[in-house]
């Protein structure tokens, strides 16, 4: 048997092809060293971390990003398979083991990081090159065998074809020889028009296992000898344990031990807790109920949502703490505003509320730690754990699992720190499970946000000025309290304003509030867009202009000088708006009591643009039924159309839940919601018919996880406004709206 012959020099050549943070990390899953590799017999060809071809011809594709419903376990392998010319139906898909790449030093942008809709944009070039490189080496091996030039070969469905005599060699038969080929410094990527797989609907690669209950989420993992823990936490962030009486808890059959631990500060702000460890989850839960605990809640235990809203409202009229964006192309002296309006909008704290409550298995051996579970940012997690738990980074091993709904919840690793603190106190692996109430009451919430907007126009009805003052409880002040620049909910025009108005002034004011915060799908974009797209609609109405035509006039006019590619942004936003309007029948006569609302936006950080059109039937005062939703998106080249549709459909449900009824309220620095009755997510009977369309183009692919959320709420509110009601406060149930 031949040995795989990749020497170190060659390995470095392979590495250098990525030219990104992955450079050194272009390694082999499961193989820790090249020495280990060279001892392996020639059973497979694995030129990089993302694919492997066995002698049998079996192609395995590895994906590094976390699968949590957004479909990266299908879309990312599609990119590789396309360039590799592998038969997608027969490939195996596995996750790249954490530790394959060197540990990242930054909090976001590492190979495994999964957030900000970045998986596709950050992987596109890299994975194409990974596939193309392997294909080139397979072709080179075949060409050498046949004594012809590589250019005289072609590849298709896992086979190299001799184009002179049409002889073929399977990839499997070439693995040993391909491994001996030099790694090409440059590879030619396929022309987009030659794509066979990208752009064609594919089912999720783990579909069958999902439907038969075989897939394992973090919650389902079993580590031999493990025990189970649930935690009673201090009700207030920053509080401390005074005493615990665990006598009754310890009497519950199955309870092994009761342990306590202190909380942490930023970035994770872990709550102080008392953990009940048991032989099964149920016993731990029963024991927990019997704990008698005294907490020192600290000094910040008086915050409540009602006061927060009042504080926002009082400060909103003042000058923002920080100016975020200013454009002054036409001083007001030149174009005096002859009229103006102002309005305020509000969005509450929100929970992620994935159906899989957070959980984590931790095992401590001496001061070495092994973790099993879902992490959206495993590198940041390891760095944070190392500091907070005082464990050397090299001694923290993370085993990544499938995630039962992320939405940003697992960007944080508070649950892992808790699991470690518990595992330190018992010589067994511990599976920590957050009960539903914990998951809703102790997490990091989407910040509450308040918006005061003001706009002016001239005698011709031309919009001349736009002022947007955003107030919120930022993520940064709890996560990075020392940071000077507070960026979350940074103010409309910073990133999320796309209309061509000559004078723009946006600013930001932060407010203290003792509840933990974090990023939720759609982040500040969704918060800002709700206000912007409602207010632009209000202006159109005031000016007696058609909301579609009015928006388009601000998107398709001549754009002023700018350091962004605004023209292209605006065209792409406009493209989705026209598509949504067209598909819902904006220009057609409405049925009796039917009203349509539109909203559009850009999601610049992920190169995606989207609009929604919502049709309602008004059933009575503030009473309605949503009869149809159209989602229109431009995310550049579409990898998996079915995945895109699923994300956009889900985005409608996510957006509707938020605008209709989702709300976290706080009293005495405690979250009041503790289950799905008090935090009622959108349900099956509330889901309207949805149609999804996209603008066909070949722009570099953007991410679609978040862009489908932001305009759902404002489009619904604009439909209600067309019917005579203008909601400005989310969730709109608080303003007396009811729906069927």
């Amino acid at each position: 048997m031949k040995k795989v012959s990749i020497d170190r020099r060659q390995f470095i050549k392979v590495s250098s092809l990525s030219g990104t943070a992955l450079t050194i990390g272009f390694l082999f899953p499961g193989l820790k060293s090249l020495a280990a590799l060279s001892q392996k017999e020639c059973e497979f060809f694995q030129p990089n971390a993302f694919l492997r071809i066995d002698k049998s011809g079996q192609v395995t594709v590895y994906f590094a990003r976390q699968e949590m419903g957004q479909g990266v376990n299908t879309s990312l392998p599609m990119i590789i398979a396309e360039e590799l010319e592998a038969d997608f139906k027969n490939i195996k898909v596995e996750i790249v083991e954490f530790g394959t790449f060197p540990l990242g030093e930054v909090s976001f942008g590492n190979p495994h990081d999964t957030g900000g809709s970045q998986s596709i944009p950050q992987s596109w070039d890299l994975l194409r090159k990974a596939g193309a490189t392997a294909k080139a080496m397979l072709i080179a091996a075949a060409a050498k065998e046949w004594g012809i030039k590589p250019e005289q070969c072609a590849a298709d469905k896992g086979t190299v074809v001799n184009t002179i005599n049409m002889a073929t060699m399977s990839y499997g038969s070439l693995v040993c020889k391909a491994a001996e080929m030099p790694v090409p410094a440059q590879v030619t990527l396929k022309n987009i028009k030659d794509f066979k797989l990208i752009g064609k609907e594919q089912r999720k690669t783990n579909l069958k296992d999902t439907l038969t209950g075989k897939v394992k989420f973090g919650m389902d993992l079993v580590v031999p000898g493990m025990v189970f823990a649930v935690v009673e936490r201090c009700p207030v962030m920053g509080g401390k344990l005074i005493s615990v009486d665990d006598a009754a808890a310890k009497k519950v059959p199955g309870v092994i031990k009761v342990v306590s631990y202190e909380g942490t500060g930023a970035p994770m702000n872990v709550y102080a807790g008392v953990a009940v460890i048991a032989t099964n989850t149920w016993a731990a839960m029963k024991g927990r109920k019997l704990l008698k605990i005294k907490w020192d809640e600290g000094l910040s235990n008086k915050d409540n949502s009602v006061d927060l809203y009042k504080r926002f409202a009082a400060k909103a009229k003042g000058k923002p703490e920080r100016q975020v964006f200013k454009r002054a192309d036409a001083p007001s002296a030149v174009i005096p505003a002859t009229n103006s309006i102002s309005a305020t909008y509000y969005g509450p704290l929100l929970a992620h509320a994935a159906i899989e409550p957070v959980n984590c298995i931790a095992e401590m051996k001496e001061n070495k730690c092994e973790l099993w579970g879902g992490f959206q940012l495993p590198d940041w997690s390891v760095n944070t754990i190392a500091t907070d738990c005082n464990i050397p980074k090299k001694d923290i091993k993370v085993n990544l699992s499938l995630i039962g709904g992320g939405f940003g919840r697992r960007l944080r690793c508070d649950f892992a720190i808790e699991a470690i603190k518990i595992a330190r106190q018992i010589d067994k692996p511990v599976k920590l499970i957050w009960e539903r109430a914990d998951d809703l009451k102790f997490e990091g919430y989407r910040p509450a946000n308040y918006h005061r907007l003001k706009a002016g126009w001239d005698v011709k009805g031309q919009l001349t000025s736009w002022d947007h003052h955003v107030l919120s409880t930022p993520i940064a002040t709890v996560t990075w309290p020392d940071e000077k620049k507070v960026s979350e909910n940074g103010g409309g025009a910073d990133a999320d304003f796309w209309y061509d108005v000559p004078n723009i002034n946006t600013g930001y004011t932060k407010e203290k509030f003792n509840i933990n915060r974090s990023w939720l799908r759609g982040v500040e974009n969704a918060a800002n867009v709700f206000a912007i797209e409602g207010f632009i609609d209000e202006i159109a109405k005031k000016l007696k202009k058609d909301p579609l035509a009015f928006r388009l006039s601000l998107l398709e006019g001549a754009a002023g000088p700018d350091n962004r590619d605004w023209n292209k942004y605006r065209q792409r936003v406009a493209g989705t708006l026209k598509l949504a309007a067209d598909k819902i029948g904006w220009a057609s006569a409405r049925k009796k009591n039917h009203f349509i609302g539109l909203a559009c936006h850009a999601y610049p950080s992920t190169s995606a643009y989207a609009s929604h059109a919502v049709e309602i039937e008004l059933l009575g005062p503030k009473k309605f039924k949503i009869t149809k939703v159209v989602a229109a998106i431009d995310c550049g080249l579409v990898i998996n159309p079915d995945g895109l549709k699923n994300q956009m459909e889900g985005g409608v449900a996510f957006g509707l839940g938020q605008v209709l009824k989702d709300e976290i309220t706080v009293k005495n620095s405690r979250v009041e919601q503790d289950n799905f009755r008090t935090y009622p997510l959108l349900r099956f009977n509330e889901m309207p018919p949805v149609e999804v369309y996209w603008v066909e183009n070949t722009e570099t692919p953007g991410g679609v996880g978040e862009v489908g959320v932001s305009t759902v709420g404002p489009a619904l509110c604009n439909a209600l406004a067309a019917a005579g009601y203008r909601p400005r406060i989310q969730p709109i149930k608080n303003e007396g709206y009811v729906w069927e």
């Binding site: 989420f217 079915d642 985005g651 509330e686």
Partner: protein, 153 residues
């Protein structure tokens, strides 16, 4: 105490307190993890199984009361994933994260055991008991209709 449970036509012996919910017996004692924990108070439907062919929230039923009953979990809905409900879910490529989908499918399977031709009102009422945070309801509705069509062929 020792209890004998009939799950997916197999007999399992478990040693536990009688008040343990079936959910935790399945998950922690028998490693039948297809049945999911979501809320523990029958508010999300993720833990739905069939007990004597009726949909039940396994977080609300204790082990003692399951003795002598016939329990079906997602692992036993069909030998190879070809129950009409699973086939419809596959055809519509329903799942996103997939965590709630066993509960969704078991809930529908339970309804279809009761009536082969449920009304829209029945479908809405029953399927609204299971939450999908990813928001796959649009596809679930299509799959529900497809499964009903299939079993009435």
């Amino acid at each position: 105490m020792t209890f004998e449970l009939n799950i997916n036509n197999k007999t399992y012996k478990i040693d536990t307190e009688p008040d343990m919910p079936l959910l935790w017996a399945l998950r922690d004692l028998l490693d039948l993890t297809g049945t999911k924990y979501g809320c523990g108070i029958a508010a999300c439907g993720a833990c739905t199984v069939l007990i004597n062919k009726r949909a039940a929230r396994s977080c609300m039923v204790n082990v003692q009361s399951c003795v002598g009953q016939s329990i079906t979990t997602i692992e036993g809905l069909s030998p190879d994933g070809t129950h009409p409900v699973q086939k419809a879910w596959e055809a519509m490529n329903v799942p996103q994260c997939g965590y709630c989908q066993a509960g969704q499918m078991m809930t529908l399977a339970g309804l279809l055991e009761q009536t082969k031709k449920p009304s829209d009102a029945q479908i809405n009422s029953v399927m609204s008991q299971v939450i999908c945070r990813c928001g796959t309801y649009h596809r679930i509705r299509k799959a529900v209709n497809m499964a009903i069509e299939e079993i009435n062929k």
